[in-house]
Amino acid sequence: MWAFINKLRSPKWFYAISTKLQPWFWAVAALLLVVGTVWGLVFAPADYQQGNSFRIIYVHVPAAFLAQSIFVSMAVSGVVFMVWKIKVADMAAAVMAPLGAAMTFIALFSGAVWGVPTWGTWWMWDARLTSMLILLFLYLGVIALRGAFSSRDSGSRAASVLAMVGVINIPIIKYSVDWWYTLHQPATFTITGRAAMPMEMWLPLLIMVLGFYCFFIALTLTRTRSEILRREVNKRWVRELVEEAS
């Protein structure tokens, strides 16, 4: 554990390991997303009440999962950066934020599109929808705060603190449908517990969720590598790397 954390200290080591890992994650992500999309949108059966509009679930649920997971990852990276002063953690947090904001937006937008035919409204100030909107604002806040300082280190620390404090919103999003009366229904897709849908609907959803997570990992690896090069541009190993390439 400590050996691993110590290795993480070196951006050079992270750069080397992510170079090896990233093609695998991209390949698996592409495969899962293609299979999941075709299966979910074409072959999965339609719902007995909602018909085909139910298929929005294959984008809505994975996007919402990722929106919350990325925020938690950002908060964890923030703690690692603040306590152990590991720069790679901060770089990862920096590149994760825009993807998280995009996923939150996709979840909100696909939910609104879904709400029109099923609920009869595209927006309602219920606890689930509102807490998700707050998550979008938290993401935008983290991104803005990072850029608001003239010194990069101050921006990193401010963004980390906001991510760590904002993580309190995540359990609120998750349990809002259980704690209060909401228009949004309770969770359909859970890893534990009984599935609220039959296998032929649940499996493509599982594939989509896994595909979204692989996509998140792959994109974070790739973008962290560019961020490492950008920040370490004056280090000797980067210069050697560039010389080798040219």
């Binding site: 059966p45 339609a46 719902d47 007995y48 009440q49 909602q50 139910f54 679930i57 703690v79 603040m82 306590v83 152990w84 035919p117 099923t118 609920w119 009869g120 409204t121 309602m124 100030w125 219920d126 606890a127 603190v161 760590m164 404090v165 993580v167 309190i168 609120i172 704690w179 209060w180 009366y181 909401t182 228009l183 229904q185 309770p186 969770a187 359909t188 609220a196 849908m197 039959p198 032929e200 609907m201």
Partner: protein, 169 residues
């Protein structure tokens, strides 16, 4: 872990727990307002204000929907399996509106105990299934058991507390 790092970790943990407590207390204080709708139990207890725009939610009682043949007027009962609420509405209902389905109605509670709705929203439960499965379940005597259990739990809790929830503030 060096003492300095340990100290930093504790500061972070302290900061996060303080914020969590603050947010938790705020949500606790606002809990009645965060609920999107009143349950028929709460309305029967007199928690919901009269002559003001409120939202009520529950299941459309089986066999309670009566439509006017000449107009869009419709009357139905919303139930949480503890108490019932009669809703009167004139307008187009959402596609998913049907008996045994969850709904949220927006409107005013009148002195006659009925709710005159301006808007009816369908509520969907977390269960999805292909039409064939739904048919099979129906033949086997399917009931919206999840909602029933939750509503009964809430009703029991309210009875035990004996305090009108929404009028505390």
């Amino acid at each position: 872990m060096t003492p300095k790092r340990k100290q930093k970790l504790f500061v972070i943990l302290g900061l996060v727990s303080l914020t969590a407590i603050a947010v938790g207390l705020t949500l606790y204080a606002l809990r009645a307002n965060i609920n999107l709708f009143f349950s028929p139990v709460q309305i029967a207890q007199g928690d919901a204000p009269m002559d003001r725009q409120i939202r009520a939610g529950g299941m459309v009682k089986e066999g309670s929907v009566s439509r006017d043949a000449e107009s869009l007027d419709v009357e139905f009962t919303v139930t949480d399996y503890v108490d019932d609420l009669t809703v009167y509405y004139s307008g187009i209902l959402p596609d998913l509106f049907r008996e045994g389905q969850g709904v949220v109605v927006v409107g005013q509670l009148q002195a006659d105990g009925r709710l005159y709705a301006d808007k009816v929203l369908a509520r969907h439960d977390e269960n999805y299934m292909p039409p064939e499965v739904a048919q099979a379940l129906k033949e086997a005597g399917y009931s919206p058991a999840d909602f029933q259990a939750k509503a009964a739990k809430v009703g029991k809790r309210l009875e035990e507390e004996g305090v009108p929830q929404a009028s505390e503030y």
